[in-house]
Amino acid sequence: MHECHNYTTMHSRRDFLSRLGMGLGGAALATLLNPGLVSGAAGPIAGDDRIKGILKRTHFVPKVKRVIYLFQSGGPSQMELFDYKPLLDTMHGEELPDSVRKGQRLTSMTGFQNSLPLARSIFPFVQHGQSGAWVSDLLPYTARIVDELCLIKSMHTEAINHDPAITFFQTGSQIAGRPSIGSWLSYGLGSDNENLPAFVVLITKDKGGQPLYSRLWGNGFLPSLHQGVQFRSGKDPVLYLNNPDGVSAGSRRKMLDRLNDLHTLQHEALGDPEIESRIAQYEMAYRMQTSVPEVMDLSDEPDYIFDLYGNAAREPGTYAANCLLARRLAERDVKFIQLYHQGWDHHGGLPGGIRQQCKETDQASAALVLDLKQRGMLDDTLVIWGGEFGRTNYCQGRLTADDYGRDHHPRCFTIWMTGGGVKKGFSYGETDEFGYNVVRDPVHVHNFQATLMYLLGIDHERLTFKHQGRRFRLTDVHGEVVEAVLA
């Protein structure tokens, strides 16, 4: 139904005859008399049906109702954070053996480097919690919640550079244009809160680094009401949401009503489902004029909550403030809350850079998990922390006593998850002693996506959308649920 202009040929002679041929003549006649009957996949225009998802029932009993994805953009170094490799301490400065790399492709940034010296982490690792997970000194707060976490140390991806890698993680394809995870969930499950979008994006302000494009939270070929909506810090959290000066709430309402009438006429004439999307978005935007300021206003948060997330949470737009905001959005049943924190791309000056990144994110990430837990929300929320790939075990650039860099490494990296349906205090997968390849229980990006969908009650193979003649899904033709991490 969504193929370009398909709706204009909906009642062609061929259509009509084939319907008659299938014994559906009566139905076909009805549609001819009233095109609105079959025009939109989303059904009649009026009513609240359109905020519900395409799946009237989930495939499985869901383990979680919502996801908070703390995306660490740039590729955080697993070597400095979670994947402890004592061998690198002893082989520090020695060449990466060919027997480990086996001629695997490197980026053009280190591919022509004469020497690939192994680099140890200058940050010491200690075991934490009952689970005894190794966490470096960089993450003192995360270290305190390791018994809540499911660490996946064997993530691997296909892309070697940022944009394809992050696009792959978020849309299931390295090539831009597919719907983002949050859009798929909005399409499949709909919204639990008619006053807020099902898919909200929060980006740490004033961070440099690898750019983030809005297509990362784009709806691709899905109806546009499923796209992520970015909430910004500052006066206008959602751009162009507030009434312009001189327009009162009443006149806005009247304008919308007239506009809806026009849209409805247009929809009846053409049957383009995108018109329905447009109507829904106008109405949502109207309701958001009240709901967004309410959710963004942190003044009702007590001091001990700011203490928990760290003082930075008082300053809008920081990662800590966004984590707190994520909790507030989760409390209001926003389905997919996507945070981005840029700046993890440490090709050089890694020790200083990563220390700063951890300072900005460590406490708030841990605080978010604990805050959800004490509210009883960790049982039906999934929290994910991770980047688009990992970093090499060898040094990029000059290796000095206290400074070094690491290049992109797609063959292994660590992410963590916690929440309903996921094992706690658990570490899955293993890399070799050099931290270069996965040696046990690899988890591909598609498997991660399939697992995420499973936790929300969706069979990733059955949530599809037909576009340009084929059915698409988040995991393309791949992906298996990683059952070993399920509780």
Binding site: K56, R57, T58, H59, F60, V61, P62, D137, P140, Y141, A143, R144, D192, N193, L308, R355, Q363, A366, A367, L370, D371, K373, Q374, R375, G376, D379, G457, E483
Partner: protein, 504 residues
Amino acid sequence: MKKALFSLIVGLLILFVMLLTTGSGSPTDFDLFLGRFHPALVHLPIGILLVAVLLEILTRSGRFGSYSKAVSAVLFVGAWGAILAAFAGLYLAQGGGYDDWTLTWHKRLGVLIAVLAAGAYWLKERTRNQTHRETQNQRRGFAAVLAGLFLAVALAGHLGGELTHGEGYQTRYMPDALRNLAGLPDKEDLGRLALENPEEATTYAALIQPILDDRCVACHNPNKTKGGLLLDTQEGLLEGGDDGPAVVSGRSEESVLIQRIWLPLAHEDHMPPEGRPQLTIAEAELIRWWIDQGASFEQTLAEAEVTPTVQTILDGYGLDEIRTGIFALDVSPADSTDIEALRAVGVSVTPLAEEEPFLQVRCTNPAACAGDNLAGALQAVTAQVAWLDLGRTEASDTTLEAVSRLENLTRLHLEQTRVTDAGLAHLKGLQFLEYLNLYGTAITDEGLQHLTDLPELKALYLWQTDVTEAGVQSLQQALPDLDVNLGLSLDPPTTQASDEAEES
């Protein structure tokens, strides 16, 4: 005729003596060589004796009266065939490894067939040689013997088939309607494990002992104890046999049990012996996995660490679909009008999942969830509501009265509501309740006492209530598996100081 009859009697006598004297000792190779003629010999008398029955029927129908003379000759050959087949069969049985009951009856029936065939021959000959016509009684007596013979051949043949091909061979592809008549489960349930209590079933009892029972216990039981090994009990497995322990915990490669299974079939020490039903690769793999995991008799299936191979096997057993808690119940879906009535109150109602009758009910309108309307609408779906979210609404103790009737409730959100200690008394009967969120309410230690009888309660949230540590402790004595949350803090880590010093 006398000579012929005499030869049959001699043959039968030898057969009787053998039946009484041979058990399943340790046969010589020559014994087994003779024994293996059984399958070759056995079909001959079956056919011949059935021909005798057929001829007799034809004779009596009148049109083929001349066949009468042939009947006794056919019976004679059939009787000798039966004796020889039974002869070989008794040798074959010495090899052991068969199901005791089936074997015993197969033997008895085999000998009975030989006796009946010889008896029928004698009767036929007697009437043939007498001067007067066959009497009515003779006719009936002969018919009865032949009928018995026919029955015995059919039964013995069936039991023989079971011995060779395993139990259930004949009924495997029987239509389900017939299977059910015979008290058998549907075909698609074959090979699936129906565990009564899947959460508590041990790996050993659910998966391992059944394999041993099927494949090993016929020879390794207190009556036979081949190789000094008992495989019908845990003690026997650990004690082992003449070659030492059958199982070395955690080391399948050193366990004789596994070594014997993996030997080539033709090898003398291969188990089960050649010619007996063998373990499937999946069964051998399960035993190997169980030993490598520590050969525990207590470990439950839920605790076991399942490898991908084993998962594949378990999927085949239907163990991927263990249904527990409310999902094991037979609850019919709610009426759509009842669901609509519930929605009309102002709550969101969603099915838990496709093909599940259960519902999640979420209150989106704070005022709607306080009144009698909700209580009334819930009446019609008391069995179906599994998750109920009344958090941050005006729900109060009176609302909980309606909640008390939701017999299959597993998750209940009451955070930031006006419920009090007295209201919690209504939750006493919720035997499936797993999750209870009371954060931000006026609950005190007193209220917790109403929760001590909730057998499934796993998570209880009590942040920002008046509950004390002592109150939680006394509740946890009653419910040791319960995880109680009184709020959390994230104190500055001790290593922070040194980090900051380094930075400055």
